[in-house]
Amino acid sequence: MGRYILRRLLVAIPTLIVISFIIYAVLALSPIDPLSAFGADPRVPPEVRENIRRSLGLDQPWPIRYVKWFTALIQGDLGYSFMSHSPVIGLIVQRLPNTLAVVGVAYVIGVLIALPVGMISAVKRYSLVDQVATTFAFIGFSTPTFFTGLLLIIIFSVNLHWLPFIYNSNLKIEDLGSFLQQVKQSIMPITVLGLFDAAVLTRYVRSEMLEHLPLDYVRTARSKGLRERAVILSHVLRNSLIPVVTLIALGVPAVFAGAIVTEQIFRVPGIGEMLVRAIFDGDIPVVAAVVFLFSVLVVSFNLVADVLYAVLDPRIKYT
């Protein structure tokens, strides 16, 4: 197992180098322009634009810029944002807590809802509970988050005045009052994202369970007189969870990448919001850093998923 992990880690290195090159090449060749923020502003004449371009190092050909960027990257330097001229790593560190507090919590809640609901839906197939859960699941993943988000804002903020829809990232949780405030400002974005995650996962859990329920080993377990609860929980569930765990693990990088649409709607200053704004502003160092870190996470969590496979399924052995 140790050797396997080591081997996988070594393979990951060239993969990431290739990814970094592709990311940079795509950004360099794309029409995004750091000076687009000045748009049609005639107050920033061509000479000034040229000066700014030079001061950002954009006068050099992009392969050279890539080598410089990559050399800094392997030394742990993600560069400076073109917009705020502050270190990209600082911006990420500043925003990660917001993303985790909203997108991360939503993901956990989604998983916690999906497991039991999916399980019950499968065991009590076509029951009222299953019908209701299935209906909600379909609504959940067929309504886009920008729609549910705006709907919640109009109901709970505009009409009822119960919840704020402008996320305050400066709120410090010091006492019960500020904690409640944090809860209040997080409910809507977490609900929107959590429902979506739960909907997708519920369907997976349900179908995996259904696949395993009629199998021979389940009949064996029942015939040797095990209680139904034990059959479901320690036999069916464990086996059904194998692909679900992979799915959950592969979903974790997405948590760190933030939720672009939902963060934008609720003004949660998270990673997703930063990424989409950086793309609009042509803030290449920020885009490159976020996308690269995302690929690192994807590669790592693929490995984690594979390792978990072996843990959950004793038949799988890596050598």
Partner: protein, 581 residues
């Protein structure tokens, strides 16, 4: 020096609360009469849907940055809504020709600075900081976005600790160019001294500037929120009213409008670019918030090419000694102007006053420079029949294809602008009108980045088209705008690498004379008359077709918020020290 705005979307204006008659600019926004005490108010909540990323006007990439920095970094003086300088900054009085502060030939300006002003860190402010700021802006390696404001300056010298003398290379009728409005924000020498030139971008002060303004930065998360608290060393002991300010950025304009009009979560929401059919009812039904628009000199207009852009001419293409085959005919220009439906454009595309209103004038602000002579002109009225009659009279005859021609020249127009959903709709409206008078219109659009360079043949400067359209904004003194736009000496051509501003290659002795007089005239009333004459000349002779006066700001504020007095020449935050509740 064509504009003052950082133009998040290119706008300018005179203040008019939408409910107030336009004859009374800023009527609703007069400073409060009741005396206020410092820090009496709580937290002021400001919402910008574009978040600030840097707090230094000179490094700003947009209005959001310049506005957020304006609470901290102050200029020498500001522009009020009427386009007059007011001494609410570091200068103790406004220099004029009358008080001897400005030389009669408009070359030197002597600024007297306030005494006893302290930076927020407690050190003394002096003329050295002003001189330093000039040097910082002047260094091309600093790559400041405000460098236009130090262009044409010979020197900025500290005569003594509280006197600064600005000397221009040549007489400059816009002698308030340096130091007035956010573009003239003064930096602290001690903080930025080591960060001139290439290192300018790395200055820690860009994120946490030490200023002389009413507030200091308590916490700044680039791309998200700025928290401010009162500058303990602010010179006015009674101001500012609000103890803290939360400047939140991000999200979208539509929900920002909801926050100020429906939930009242914020006191001020900037630049509400929301479709009129959503914004209008929302603001009208609001009990907590109020929409206001500010108009300035930001004009969307059509420019005619007086030179011949025919590619067959090769190197001579669109050079000033070529002559446009039909746009040099006044009758054609007049007909095109009369067939341009700017009313529909304003109504359908600019929300009937929410983001712009139709205009036939080029100079729409300050108020005393606005011509009242053009409204009655036939070229300012949409009249297809009259336009057709004009062309018939001039001998342009419709062919079998419905396109007019004369002497083998067909009225085929290549009409270029930037890629922008709104502009493409404007093009459609213009094309529909011109089609009705037998003019064949070919529409073209190029990305803004290409359009506004002097290196691309598709750029506005090269003007290798017959008609082009974009927005121009003027300073409170429009001399530079008029001279560079239509003066003979400023014709854009190959020999000056299209760096000059007269893209239309218009050349007219009468117009040049007006400009020459304007450059010398010191009397305010006579200057206004000359500006109006120049405006009327361009409109009457249809050198340009002005379409829309775009708003400088369309923002929302809480009804309880007093003292907001927006000006099209400066940041919306210019007088935040006077705001109260």
């Amino acid at each position: 020096m064509l504009t003052l705005t950082m133009a998040a979307c290119g706008q300018q204006g005179t203040s008019t609360a939408t409910t107030a008659p336009s004859a009374a600019p800023a009527a609703s926004a007069a400073p409060t009469a009741a005396p206020v005490t410092r820090g009496q108010g709580g937290d002021l909540k400001i919402l910008y849907w574009q978040p600030p990323t840097i707090l230094n006007q000179h490094q700003a990439t947009g209005t959001k940055d310049a506005d957020a920095a304006r609470l901290v970094l102050e200029p020498l003086a500001s522009w009020n809504p009427e386009g007059k300088p007011v001494a609410n900054g570091l200068a103790s009085e406004i220099p004029t020709v009358a008080n001897g502060g400005v030389s009669a030939d408009f070359t030197t300006v002597t600024w007297k600075l306030r005494t006893g002003v302290k930076w927020s860190d407690g050190t003394a402010f002096s003329a050295d900081d002003v001189v330093f700021t000039y040097q910082y802006m002047k260094d091309p390696k600093s790559a400041v976005t405000t460098s236009d404001y130090v262009d044409g300056i010979k020197s900025v010298v500290a005569k003594d600790a509280n006197t600064v003398v600005v000397t221009y290379d040549k007489p400059n009728p816009f002698f308030y160019q340096f130091g007035v409005s956010g573009s003239g924000a003064i930096l602290q020498k001690a903080q930025f001294g080591a960060f001139v030139g290439e290192k300018a971008k790395d200055a820690p002060g860009n994120l946490r500037p030490i200023g002389t303004g009413p507030y200091v930065v308590k916490d700044f998360k680039p791309g998200d929120t700025v928290l401010y608290e009162i500058n303990p060393n602010y010179r006015d002991a009674n101001k500012p009213f609000f103890k803290t300010v939360t400047f939140k950025g991000g999200g979208d304009a539509a929900t920002a409008a909801r926050a100020v009009f429906q939930t009242g979560d914020v006191d001020y929401a900037w630049n509400l670019q929301v479709e009129a059919n959503i914004l209008s009812p929302m603001s009208k039904a609001s009990t907590v918030g109020e929409l206001f628009t500010v108009y300035g000199a930001s004009i969307e207009r059509l420019l005619f090419n007086f030179a011949n852009p025919d590619p067959a001419l090769g190197d001579k293409r669109a050079e000033p000694d070529t002559k446009h085959p039909f746009l040099t005919d006044l009758a054609v220009r007049r007909a095109l102007a009369m067939a341009t439906d700017r009313g529909t454009m304003a109504k359908e595309l600019y929300g009937d006053g929410l983001s712009g209103k139709s205009t036939c004038n080029l100079i729409t602000a300050p108020p005393d420079l606005v011509s009242k002579n053009t409204d009655s002109l036939d070229v300012c009225k949409y009249d297809i029949a009259a336009a057709n009659a004009e062309l018939d009279k001039a001998g342009w005859v419709k062919g079998a294809d419905g396109i007019r021609a004369k002497g083998g020249v067909k009225l085929h127009v290549l009409y270029r602008t930037t890629v922008n959903a709104l502009r493409q709709k404007e093009q459609d409206i213009v094309k529909a009108g011109w089609k009705q008078i037998g003019v064949d219109v070919e529409l073209a659009s190029v990305p803004a980045g290409t359009f506004f360079t002097n290196t691309s043949p598709d750029g506005a400067n090269h003007f290798f088209a017959d008609v082009e359209m974009y927005t121009n904004s003027g300073d409170p003194d429009p001399t530079a705008l008029l001279a560079s736009g239509w003066g003979t000496e400023n014709i854009a051509q190959k020999s000056n690498t299209w760096q000059k501003g007269n893209y239309a290659r218009y050349s007219n002795a009468d117009f040049d004379k007006i400009i020459a007089d304007l450059k010398k005239e010191t009397d305010t009333a006579k200057r206004a008359a000359l500006v109006i004459a120049a405006n009327d000349h361009l409109v009457k002779n249809v050198v340009i077709v002005n379409l829309i006066n775009r708003t400088f700001a369309t923002s929302g504020r809480a009804k309880t918020l007093k003292g907001v007095n927006p000006t099209p020449w400066d940041s919306e935050m210019w007088n935040i020290a006077d705001w109260s509740k």
